[in-house]
């Protein structure tokens, strides 16, 4: 036991660490996503399970391909969990019975184009999962809006493992039979047909999540619980989710009060589509959101407001992905403009005045 060690390179302090790591952070986010995901599996059966793992595999494949191309070591980047998380989030935003090729294309697109082309983890301007989702939505609008009514595992007519695989790989034989519209989609169609919302026969709201929708977006309750867990684990702070939900609910509340025939209620906005997933898991993406608390509040408010605007006046029934991408683009500007106050200085960075003795 000698102390005769020789450190050749000088290393700066600190010589201690809080213990967190990137893979830990990603693992905790995945953990928080698990309840909502399992619920999605139960709700939509085996095809959803297959779509989920295929999308993640594709995202990992895309990452590995790029790393190989750039002759970077595979292990550290593949195992930090960021690519898997991207694939996971993308899968949750797809229609549960979507064909496998959709997930594969999306997964590859997310990691290759939206992440690695920008320079890899930490360099991407836009949230990769949302870029892929929007790209798919724009390119394959039909496949991306093939919602189905819930067919919980074990219920009559739910496909078993093999049949689920066949549905995912080869497409459902008679999708029309079980097809169903999402609430937001339905509302938009009715409005565009000139039927006002008071007459339209909207599907019932569900806090637990038994409704038609994307694989993992339906259960507001479980997503909320996951989000709160993330806040408690100090992975994210409350600023972005709270601001985004407020930014969405507030205009909805006002508009609904003024004209309930043309505007959905705040509760509907909060409980449908990707609002909850977006607020807690998408908008809070570290890389693409601002660094300061005030910046995060602005960012969150912007996401919420844009979501409401797009949902209410845009061409698409759902707007979370677009809203988040737009605010991602604003993030560098927010970060440049809003900086924390430095100790001993005022907001503009001028030293505080020295009082006359």
């Amino acid at each position: 036991m000698s102390a005769g060690l020789a450190t050749t390179v000088p290393l700066a302090s600190p010589h201690a660490h809080a213990g967190s790591s990137v893979s830990w952070v990603m693992a905790k986010v995945m953990l928080a996503l698990t309840p909502a995901t399992l619920y999605g599996f139960w709700l939509y059966g085996w095809p959803a399970v297959h779509l989920w793992w295929i999308t993640i595999a594709a995202a990992l494949l895309g990452e590995a391909f790029c790393l190989r191309l750039m002759r970077r070591p595979l292990r550290p980047a593949l195992f930090d969990g960021s690519a898997a998380l991207t694939g996971w989030l993308l899968a949750l935003s797809l229609p549960p019975w979507a064909p496998a090729w959709l997930g594969v294309l999306g997964g590859l697109f997310a990691t290759i184009v939206a992440k690695q082309l920008f320079g890899g983890l930490g360099q991407n301007l836009f949230n990769p999962a949302m870029v892929a989702r929007v790209a798919l939505l724009v390119s394959f609008p039909v496949a991306m809006t093939q919602w189905i009514a819930p067919v919980p595992l074990g219920s009559a007519g739910a496909p078993d493992f093999a049949e689920g695989l066949r549905i995912t790989l080869a497409g459902a034989p008679s999708l029309d039979a079980i097809a169903s519209a999402s609430l937001l989609g339905h509302a938009k169609t009715e409005l565009s047909r000139g039927v006002d919302l008071l007459q339209a026969n909207l599907p019932a709201l569900s806090f637990v999540g038994e409704r038609a929708g994307s694989l993992g977006e339906t259960s507001a309750l479980l997503l909320l619980l996951g989000g709160i867990a993330l806040i408690l684990m100090r992975i994210i702070t409350w600023h972005i989710p709270a601001a985004m939900l407020v930014g969405l609910a507030l205009p909805a509340l006002i508009a609904h009060a003024l004209d309930p025939a043309r505007h959905l209620s705040a509760a509907t906005h909060l409980l449908s589509g990707a609002a909850m997933l977006g607020a807690f898991f998408i908008a809070t993406d570290y890389v693409t959101s601002p660094n300061t608390r005030l910046g995060q509040l602005i960012f969150g408010l912007g996401c919420g407001l844009l979501t409401w605007l797009i949902r209410s006046y845009g061409g698409y029934p759902e707007g979370v992905a677009f809203a988040v991408l737009l605010m991602n683009a604003a993030t560098p500007a927010i970060d440049r403009l809003i900086r924390p106050r430095i100790y001993g200085r005022d907001l503009k960075g001028r030293p505080l005045e020295i009082p006359e003795a």
Partner: protein, 180 residues
């Protein structure tokens, strides 16, 4: 289709004119810039850059025919200053800066010929005929002009020793793990 082509062409034209106009409008008199750069340079006219003097180097840097990194005695500080003046971005960390050097007289060989003394642009060498010369550390810019003049090769360029006060933390290597 035709409308699109037309509008794009128009857009291109407008932007092109705009850029041309801006270039003219915001053109800075080179002479002023040369003078400003020259003011930053060491001014010892040592010629290590390959130009006859600091003014020549400054002119070349100003018109872009020489990089702002050509002045060895100026070091990184000069590069930064020039880059700031010209609005360039230069990665100084990539500069092969093996640290400043100064001339040192090897006393056994010096014959006291006074030739080096006349050459030094900053009068950093003291000595008299038939006396051993020596270099004032603080005044030597490391231009190495004296070295070539010495008939007995008594002058050598030696790196300025790093001391505790002047030691600089190395920059962490990027990408590669910072510690093994």
């Amino acid at each position: 289709m035709i409308a699109a082509i037309l509008s794009l062409t128009l857009l291109g034209l407008v932007l092109g004119f705009g850029l041309g106009f801006a270039a003219r409008k915001f053109h800075v008199e080179t002479d002023a810039k040369v003078a400003e750069i020259e003011a930053l340079m060491p001014g010892s006219n040592c010629g290590q850059c390959g130009f006859p003097g600091c003014a020549g180097a400054a002119a070349a840097i100003a018109d872009g025919s020489a990089p702002p990194t050509i002045c060895p005695p100026g070091g990184k500080a000069l590069v930064e200053a020039i880059a700031k003046l010209l609005g360039l971005s230069v990665d100084t960390s990539a500069l092969a800066d093996e640290g400043p050097k100064i001339a040192v007289v090897q006393e056994e060989i010096c014959i006291g010929c006074c030739r080096c003394l006349k050459e030094c642009p900053t009068d950093a060498i003291i000595g008299a005929a038939k006396q051993i010369h020596s270099v004032l550390r603080e005044a030597c810019t490391g231009c190495a002009k004296c070295v070539a003049r010495c008939p007995t090769e008594a002058l050598r360029m030696e790196p300025v020793p790093v001391t505790l006060q002047h030691w600089v933390w190395p920059k962490p290597e990027r990408g590669a793990p910072a510690w093994a």
